[in-house]
């Protein structure tokens, strides 16, 4: 692993939607190129309240000779993200990363179907960027189902639209795009796809992923999902971020979301 700790300097930290911020952080050029789906642990104040670092996916990444820029797209939900939102330009944060396994993008099929819920769009955006840059994917069709609670919660769509034309926006309340849970809309389209010709990726709230698991149950679709779990270390040491999965023998085992994940095969996950 080539993750390490970096002092990040905040270049920008803007509220791009109600309670939703885009933070651009400059780090040393030694920061390793992240895989899509990887994340950073961000230590917010260097003080002991809040105590733990917060995991945030890498939304976008770029580098030049002198430095790297990590973009984080985050929603304010509690104390830690609130403090993040208050950080001003030029202030510093400690960043540990890139962490996690990231999405497996070794072999991609004809259809790349991506289902996101809410802020789950963050890691999937980087995935789309990467796949778009790859020659062997140029012939693949990319279809994106971004779901949000309502029009006022929509984020990250502009960037997606630059990368992809086949976007089926869904909102729970129908205030934008299709009305309904994104999983329901996806399900309606499912007959378009076959397990053989489709690579499926998803990220979103647990309930959404559970619904997706139900839909895909007893089908042969492979689906890579990025999970969230409370984290302490982010590096695999504390075994705090456990998720129950079937191991190779099919026996239940606890895997670490931070080090064995955050990306898992949906079929391996044992939901409570």
């Amino acid at each position: 692993m080539a993750a390490n700790i970096y002092i990040g300097e905040i270049l920008e930290n803007e509220e791009i939607q109600e309670d939703c911020f885009l933070m651009k952080v400059k780090t040393a050029p030694s920061f390793q190129n992240p895989l899509p789906g990887q994340f950073v642990m961000i230590r917010i104040a260097g003080l002991n309240d809040p105590f733990l670092s917060r995991p945030i996916s890498i939304y976008s990444f770029s580098r030049n000779e002198n430095y790297c820029v990590i973009e984080l797209l985050y929603r304010v939900v509690g104390k830690g993200t609130q403090i993040m939102a208050g950080l001003i330009e030029d202030s510093q944060v400690e960043i540990n990363g890139p962490l996690g396994n990231g999405f497996n993008i070794q072999s991609v099929k004809e259809n790349i179907v991506i289902v996101s819920g809410g802020i789950g769009i963050a890691p999937l955006s980087l995935l789309i960027e990467y796949l778009r840059q790859r020659d062997d994917c140029s012939s693949s069709e990319m279809i994106i189902y971004p779901g949000f609670q309502s029009a006022s919660a929509v984020i990250g769509l502009d960037k997606m639209q630059k990368l992809c034309r086949n976007i089926t926006v869904c909102t729970d309340d129908g205030t934008l795009g299709n009305k309904g849970f994104v999983t329901q809309i996806f399900q309606k389209d499912m007959k378009k796809y076959t397990p053989e010709n489709t690579s499926l990726y998803a990220c979103g709230p647990k309930e959404m992923l559970k619904a997706l698991a139900k839909i895909l149950h007893n089908t042969k679709f492979d689906c890579q999902v990025s999970l969230e779990e409370r984290m302490a270390c982010g590096t695999g040491a504390c075994v705090g971020c456990a998720v129950a999965v079937k191991d190779k023998q099919g026996d239940p085992a606890y895997k670490r979301v931070c080090a064995d994940g955050p990306v898992f095969n949906l079929t391996d996950i044992i939901w409570e």
Binding site: M1, A2, A3, N4, I5, R43, N48, D49, P50, F51, L52, S53, E94, N96, E229, R230, M231, A232, C233, G234, T235, G236, A237, C238, V239, G240, C241, A242, V243, A244, P252, A253, Y254, A259, E272
Partner: protein, 308 residues
Amino acid sequence: MKTKTSPHMAVNLGRLKLNNPVMTASGTFGYGEEYAGYVDLNKLGAIVVKGLSLKPRLGNPPPRIMETTGGMLNAVGLQNIGVDAFIEEKLPFLRQYDAAVIANIYGETYDEFKKVAKKLSSANGVHALEVNISCPNVKKGGVSFGTDPKIAATITRMVKDETGLPVIVKLTPNVTDIAAIAEAVEKAGADALSLINTLTGMSVDLKTRRPHLKNITGGLSGPAIKPVALRMVWQVVRRVSVPVIGIGGIMTAQDALEFLILGAKAVQIGTANFVNPRATMDVVEGIKQYLAENKIKDINEIIGTFQP
């Protein structure tokens, strides 16, 4: 601040000789590998590995951790790969480094403690055993072992009988009189004591109106508990003559020095690793700097300097 002559940092915990008094705390540093990218493992006094049981343990169902003010709760439940897999898969990696390797061991029965101790004693590259009689997150044994001086002494004696390695006994803070337990395990042959393990705690989710942890209770660690840890180390050092290792909420060299001044011969860094993966290195460097600034040539000169 660089100084011309670096202060002498080696300490002896009885037979166990360490290059410096800074170790990792069990369960917070994995098997060393997880932090090899952040830390020069050669610069650690010792690496105490995640608690080992005879068979692999699945651990507790999630959620397992929760942040608290100045600390965290965990109910990992001693998930580990088991002593055999440790010896085969993890020990070869650890053997490469200068740091002493201390195996933290745990059993649900007396017999399990004995067997784990025996297996590790014949493994190449283990420098000491740390006997965890105090994990609050497992249903059997766990707490009751460590809160009863007689049982604590029995386990200590049994492990001693199985091993030629130095035996460190790790004490729980969830007791009325930690010094009494310390005395009992000293009498039973412990070569050193380490304290404290986590305080048992809890927190409640107002959305679900249930505890955040599936296990209901968990172990509280981090700077929140440092004052309790210091007090217990202070109570114990005056009652035993074996070396004491101070643990609990150490984030910085300053924190570590508090323990050393009270008489701890070494310290372990736990939860701090999560928040700052380089915490151990920062502590080592910070202690050196404090000694240099105060013109103290040998770390042993500062250990136990406070006498009331």
